[in-house]
């Protein structure tokens, strides 16, 4: 009876295959387990299928083989029934004709929640990302960093249990990106949702994540998983600096072997 004691992972992929209608095989045998409360970073060479994996988990693109479950449900059922897991895109993807508050409230609106329930949730989400003052602004009045904060608030407004982030702050400058990462980690430490985040910066991955997964290309599958068991915060010039760099070096080696032989 030992087996039943094991916590069931929130995201479970077994031998996952995904072939686009165009014939491109983006995922070929992905095995992945994400436990509740983990903050997992996903790295890999461009085009290896990271975004595809995330979109498959989100139920946005159908997989073509193997199994994929979110809390024991198919991605599509999970999306319909769990109502409020969240997806953060690389671009802020705000609707320019809506005020920030109305952009942040969009998920609740689409899910059919009444306005009386929406308003406090929106206010809380905006406060969490430090945008309370910008509620009535339009997106074109915000800086790039503030737009991304609004996008993050929109993801948090449903109080998600699973947060999927596809290179979320990739369009920002170094400083803005670090600030948003700090905000993200602070929110995660407080609320302990489960995060799966694509990034192309190994240092960012090691600094943020509880675990880093390395994907390889041709075929798209996971080639390594590295637990990052370091105290936080993890500044490079702190006592953990050497350990952080050692992890980055290890990831670099894995990535080197992940590149397809040419």
């Amino acid at each position: 009876m030992l087996g039943s004691r094991r916590v069931r992972p929130l995201v479970l992929a077994r031998d996952l295959h995904l072939r686009y209608p165009s014939g491109v095989v983006a995922l070929a045998g992905v095995d992945l387990e994400v436990t509740r409360g983990e903050l997992v970073a996903l790295v890999g060479p461009s085009g290896c299928g990271k975004s595809t994996l995330l979109r498959a988990i989100a139920g946005l693109v159908p997989f073509t083989g193997g199994t994929l479950e979110i809390a024991g449900k198919s991605p599509l059922d999970a999306r319909r029934e769990r109502q409020g897991d969240a997806f953060v895109f690389q671009d802020p993807s705000l609707l320019p004709w809506r005020r920030v508050a109305d952009n942040v409230g969009l998920p609740l609106e689409l899910l059919g929640r009444p306005p009386a329930e929406r308003a406090p949730a929106v206010a809380q989400a905006l406060a969490q990302v430090g945008l309370a003052d910008a509620a009535r602004a339009y997106p074109d009045e915000l800086s790039g960093g503030m737009k991304m904060r609004a996008s993050l608030a929109r993801a948090l407004v449903t109080r998600p249990e699973l947060l999927l982030l596809d290179e979320p702050f990739g369009a920002l400058d170094e400083l803005g990106r670090r600030r948003l990462n700090d905000t993200l980690v602070a929110l995660w430490e407080r609320d302990r949702w489960t995060g799966l985040m694509i990034t192309h910066s190994l240092l960012e991955a090691v600094t943020l994540a509880t675990r880093v997964i390395v994907m390889g290309e041709s075929p798209g599958r996971i080639v390594a998983s590295l637990a990052i068991d370091l105290p936080r915060p993890r500044p490079l010039d702190g006592p953990e600096g050497p350990a952080i760099l050692a992890h980055v070096a290890a990831l670099e080696r894995h990535l080197g072997s992940a590149e397809a032989p040419r």
């Binding site: 989100a58 999306r79 895109f89 004709w97 689409l110």
Partner: protein, 262 residues
């Protein structure tokens, strides 16, 4: 620079060029002793314009009414057709070739047919203006409704948005910049359409517009009068285009959108 100074910077050069051309034209007419029925001098044109000011003004108003009626109809009809196209691939495939037909059919060829079917007068003039200006609206609105940021589509899908919600909250508002730019192109065409319509449909009608005036004055070799009518047509086209552009800019501001470059 002050707004007045900026306005002067925009309209100053073309007005100066106009003055130079008119001066040269006058000098050439005098120097070469051109017969006035071939090329009337600017002074003769101005004299004819003042002498027939009432008729020209009334004709301009009538043509403007025909053009605006046609333009309004093509905005409504074009948007409805685009909605149908965007909602059904089948309808789009079946009807799109005929929409292109609208653009390629020479209006001079079908205007007589319209007179046979609908008689002379305002309705036929507006109908020709509608036919000529419809395609840009259909094409721009269809593009606006179907070309949506895939990330936004993912976002709406992720939160379980219905087709109806996607249409109402994403596609329709997102298509506004396209419709505005389509309307601007259509506005110039509608004036041309109204004038061409009057070439045919103005005959025998109780009221006649610039197109009819152009036909009559050219038939009588009253070239100075003809030039005045042509000038009025040009100004009407410019004024319509300018008015639609101004309204379009206001709409774009309201929707916080940018002009679509085409």
């Amino acid at each position: 620079m002050s707004p007045l100074g900026r306005a002067a910077g925009v309209v100053g050069p073309p007005i100066a060029l106009f003055a130079v051309v008119v001066l040269l034209w006058e000098l050439l007419c005098v120097a070469l002793e051109l017969p006035p029925y071939l090329v009337p001098s600017p002074i003769a044109v101005a004299r004819a314009g003042i002498e027939h000011a009432d008729t020209i003004a009334w004709s301009t108003l009538l043509t403007a009414a025909g053009a605006l009626a046609g333009l309004g109809a093509s905005l409504v009809l074009g948007s409805l057709v685009a909605l149908a196209f965007a909602n059904s691939r089948w309808i789009a495939r079946a009807f799109y070739p005929y929409a292109i037909f609208l653009q390629t059919v020479p209006v001079v060829a079908i205007a007589p047919l319209i007179v046979i079917w609908f008689g002379t007068g305002f309705a036929s003039v507006a109908l020709v203006a509608l036919i000529v200006s419809l395609f840009p609206v259909i094409s721009a609105a269809t593009t606006g409704l179907t070309r949506v940021d895939p990330q936004l589509l993912d976002l709406f899908t992720f939160y379980g948005a219905s087709r109806w919600q996607i249409m109402l909250k994403l596609r329709l508002p997102g298509s506004i910049p396209h419709v505005v730019s389509g309307a601007r192109i259509a506005s110039g065409l509608a004036v041309i359409g109204a004038i061409v319509g009057e070439f045919f449909a103005g005959y025998g009608a109780d009221e006649y517009g610039l197109g009819y005036l152009i036909i009559v004055t050219s038939g009588q070799l009253r070239t100075d009068y003809l030039f005045a009518a042509i000038l009025a047509s040009t100004l009407l086209g410019l004024a319509t285009f300018g008015a639609v552009s101004l309204i379009g800019a206001a709409v774009l501001r309201r929707w916080r959108s940018r002009e679509i470059e085409r």
